[in-house]
Symmetry: C2
Subunit: 151 residues, 2 copies
Amino acid sequence: MSTVEPLLAALERGGYQRTEPRRLVATMVAQHDGHFTAPELVRESRRRGLPVGRATIFRALDVFLALGLVERLDLPDGEHAYVLCEPTHHHHVVCQRCGRTAEVDDDRGLRTVVQEIEQHTGYAIDTHRVELFGTCPSCQAQEAGPAGRAR
Amino acid sequence: MSTVEPLLAALERGGYQRTEPRRLVATMVAQHDGHFTAPELVRESRRRGLPVGRATIFRALDVFLALGLVERLDLPDGEHAYVLCEPTHHHHVVCQRCGRTAEVDDDRGLRTVVQEIEQHTGYAIDTHRVELFGTCPSCQAQEAGPAGRAR
DNA sequence: GTTTTTGCAAACCATTTGCAGGGTC
DNA sequence: GACCCTGCAAATGGTTTGCAAAAAC
């Protein structure tokens, strides 16, 4: 969970207005440390009584996406989710248990693989999407035994 | 473009019935060499006057997916597409121009990268999805000049 | 004859859009 | 005051489902 400030600052830097509804969406986004979907935010805003319309949430997410503050993930079941992230990194490891994500900065090995693939296939690759799914350390610990006993 | 036979054979092997509607869907699938979406098949079946209902197409694709005959792709724009593929390979390079795909069998380099990521992040990774987008050789040639002149 | 499949239409749910009113710079 | 942003409600599409009839084993 992070703060909203950086998000709002990025809005202004990008030439977007710093409005109340966007601040509310930013707050919800910042409070998730795992991934979340647009409909989830919509439900959450209703539950918490936040004055933001459905369309605004979708539109705000688009803006955040355009600014690179958030990234789109496609979960294994086909759902479209988002994660808050650094504007530079590009891949995520997603925990299938709790939804938490970690960023993967090791682009070096990947870049090599992509080059090899270009040579093998003859395709000129300009973007790639890599999503990794597994279990995060903390969920692994729980699975080993809720009593705290190591596996 | 491939034949329907292998698809139908796989159906039986998997304990599913070899029915007419499924054969029709298999035919459409086999005739695409790029990716396709469920709604696309629905439209195609109507255009060609094939007697298959919408729901049946969705259900047939689910069966093919379960059998590993087809794989699900998430295009950069978020669309859910499918590609016909070998039951063993797992990644695709997708041409953004014509939609054609090539399979990537080089899992070796990737496996190494995944292991490194596991060590860095502490996550236990059990599945990964890799999708590569670019331009296929034949579209590259066209881009260089439709007259056939080499770049 | 029993079990699968199918088709249809309706239901569902995510996402987008038109437009009038409100907020921000 | 001009332009950007929002909310609402309706439209749009993809996907699923209930159920009775039809096909397959």
